[in-house]
């Protein structure tokens, strides 16, 4: 059972929801694992405080050309779709930051002068939280553009025994890193706020869920802050509103200090547990289809 937490707009409370859901389920003695897929700006570790025991580099294979053997024929530049390898004045130049590591140039080189060398893009880290949640995250190196390969590697990484319920905290937006994060989940939990920005981006995120055929539900955070157009949209689109978290200074101040919602307001634990039961029922019905 995998629940992905996404939003469209940033800063709506994805990590607040994802970490509190994980803590609430763990409090019921369920086996829970947590992946922080926001590899550009990961924050879940600040709330769950895992102790990292495992770490690994994520590399991309980039071409290295043996200048002595290279005939400068330019076939590599012809097949490269990313303009990461060019031939200038008979000399072959590689731009590693543009390379996607597909290996096409290596396969096509008629002289077999290309070897692939690993180039670091970021790291993966994993460990247990004090509650026993199996936690893993990815971290993109500064200056590296490509988050997607790190997210893919993170999702394949198995430093622990597979756990019962997996929670995937996704990055904001609706483009490729979000797709890489939520793909394969059984349920999409969309966290938004009732503002024009929140609604605009929620519509895109909901569309993404439909395209990937993942059933979705909404959590309204900072309820009461904006207007009622969000409720109208959810009703029209047939997306259930699973929970409302009111705009309260105490919650905002607690989260600012790195406290989870269930620590600030313990009564939310039961609400998250009930919400999970609802999600489980939806997923069971989906599986029947």
């Amino acid at each position: 059972m995998i629940i992905a937490v996404a939003s469209g707009k940033g800063g709506t409370g994805k990590t607040t929801v994802a970490t509190s859901l994980a803590l609430s389920l763990s409090a019921q003695d369920r086996a829970v694992s947590f992946l922080d897929c926001d590899v550009e700006a990961p924050n879940a570790h600040l709330f769950l405080q895992p102790e990292f025991q495992h770490t690994r580099a994520v590399n991309r294979l980039t071409p290295q050309v043996d200048e002595e053997k290279c005939s400068g024929c330019g076939r590599c530049a012809e097949v490269c779709q990313y303009h990461a390898i060019v031939v200038l004045g008979g000399k072959t130049l590689v731009f590693p930051e543009l390379c996607h590591g597909c290996g096409s140039c290596t396969l096509e080189c008629p002289e077999k002068t290309i070897t692939e060398i690993p180039e670091k893009l970021g790291i993966l880290e994993a460990g247990y939280t004090p509650e026993g949640i199996a936690f893993a995250r990815g971290l993109l190196d500064v200056g590296e553009p490509m988050a997607v390969p790190i997210i893919h590697q993170l999702k394949k990484w198995q430093p622990f025994q597979p756990q019962g319920i997996a929670i995937w905290d996704s990055p904001p937006g609706t483009s490729c890193p979000v797709v890489a994060s939520i793909r394969g989940a059984n349920y999409l939990l969309l966290v938004t706020e009732p503002t024009p920005f929140g609604l605009h981006d929620l519509k895109l995120a909901a569309q993404l869920g439909t395209e990937l055929e993942i059933p979705a539900g909404v959590i309204v955070n900072r309820d009461g802050v904006g207007d009622t157009r969000l409720d109208e949209f959810c009703q029209q689109a047939g997306i259930p509103i699973l929970m409302r978290i009111p705009l309260e200074r105490e919650i905002g101040a607690g989260v600012a200090q790195g406290k989870s919602l269930v620590e600030i307001r313990p009564e939310y634990r039961a609400r998250f547990q009930e919400m999970f039961a609802q999600i489980e029922a939806v997923c069971a019905a989906e599986a029947q289809k």
Partner: protein
């Protein structure tokens, strides 16, 4: 001509509200600065919601290509699966002739990275690249000057490339028509669209939030501006929600020699302005947030002038 980019690392710290206020203050504030606006958050573009732009031109944005197999030509050799490093190719029943049985292969357009390795390796020449319509971009006239913005379709790649397209057009118009400033509303994170938004900028303003998550991500984005040699200023938004956090940001900036250009208090008029579709400095010019934003803008203008 100068280029100013608004960034944050963490999402939802108030980049777009700050950008909208700056657009208004540049057009109608004490000092007139003719600015061209660009929304570089192409997969969650919100600046248009507060600037009521009239679209004057729209263009399709073609993203990367995606490979497609012709099941009639496919000989089921499996070479494509072997060479694909993006786990995008799967065996599937031959769709057009189920009575003959047998298998073909299917390329998942979402997983396909567009590398074309399979195209070159397929011995039957059964795979071709298909261009993908990834979104649109617009040149609009907003209340406070020309606006370049886009709508990337959900699940599309190449948001960095689209950011580059928008910024190029904003820059060209700025030069052609003698504008002073390109004001870029940046995306969250530190990856490809952020790098495209930062590249070529003269100055970055980081909108930091005094929360553990906001501070963590402010450090990340400051490393990015530093990496690309772009000077950065910091302002704190919702500065009074966690005073210890705000003090930590100020201490850090002082230690690193980063100019701190203001504290914007938490103020619900910012959200009310957004609901009305206006910059807060228009909706309630005397609200605490508007007053601080004018102060921040003055300091940013000073810093831009000092660059020259």
């Amino acid at each position: 001509m100068k280029q100013l980019v608004i960034l944050s690392g963490k999402g939802g710290t108030g980049k777009t509200s700050v950008t909208a206020a700056f657009a208004h203050l540049a057009a109608e504030g004490e000092v007139s600065i003719r600015a061209v606006l660009a929304d570089a958050d192409v997969d969650a573009a919100n600046l248009e919601l507060v600037l009521s732009p009239k679209v004057e031109e729209r263009e399709d944005f073609w993203g990367g290509q995606v490979a497609q197999i012709d099941p009639q030509t496919c000989s089921e050799c499996g070479t494509c699966i072997e060479v694909c490093r993006f786990d995008a190719i799967y065996p599937c029943p031959r769709p057009l002739s189920p009575w003959e049985g047998g298998e073909s292969y299917w390329i998942d357009p979402i997983a396909c990275d567009g590398c074309a390795a399979c195209v070159y390796q397929c011995p039957e020449g059964a795979i071709t690249m298909q261009p993908q319509l990834a979104g649109e971009w617009f040149q609009s006239q907003s209340r406070y000057g020309p606006l370049f913005h886009a709508a990337l379709r959900p699940a599309q790649e190449n948001s960095g490339k689209l950011v580059t397209v928008i910024k190029q057009h904003a820059r060209l118009l700025t030069m052609d028509e003698g504008y002073h400033l390109v004001l870029v509303d940046g995306p969250p994170g530190i990856g490809c669209p952020v790098i495209s938004a930062v590249s070529g900028a003269d100055l970055a303003l980081i909108v930091a939030e005094p929360t553990v998550a906001g501070i963590h991500d402010m450090h990340r984005v400051l490393q990015v501006t530093d990496h690309f040699g772009v000077k950065a200023l910091v302002c704190i938004n919702k500065a009074d929600i966690y005073l210890a956090g705000a003090a930590e940001i100020e201490a850090f900036c002082q230690e690193q020699g980063i100019e701190m250009v203001g504290r914007i208090p938490f103020d619900t008029t910012v959200t009310h302005a957004m609901v009305r579709g206006q910059p807060v400095t228009v909706y309630q010019p005397e609200s605490p947030a508007s007053q601080s934003l004018r102060e921040v803008w003055r300091k940013v203008v000073d810093a831009l002038e000092r660059l020259a």
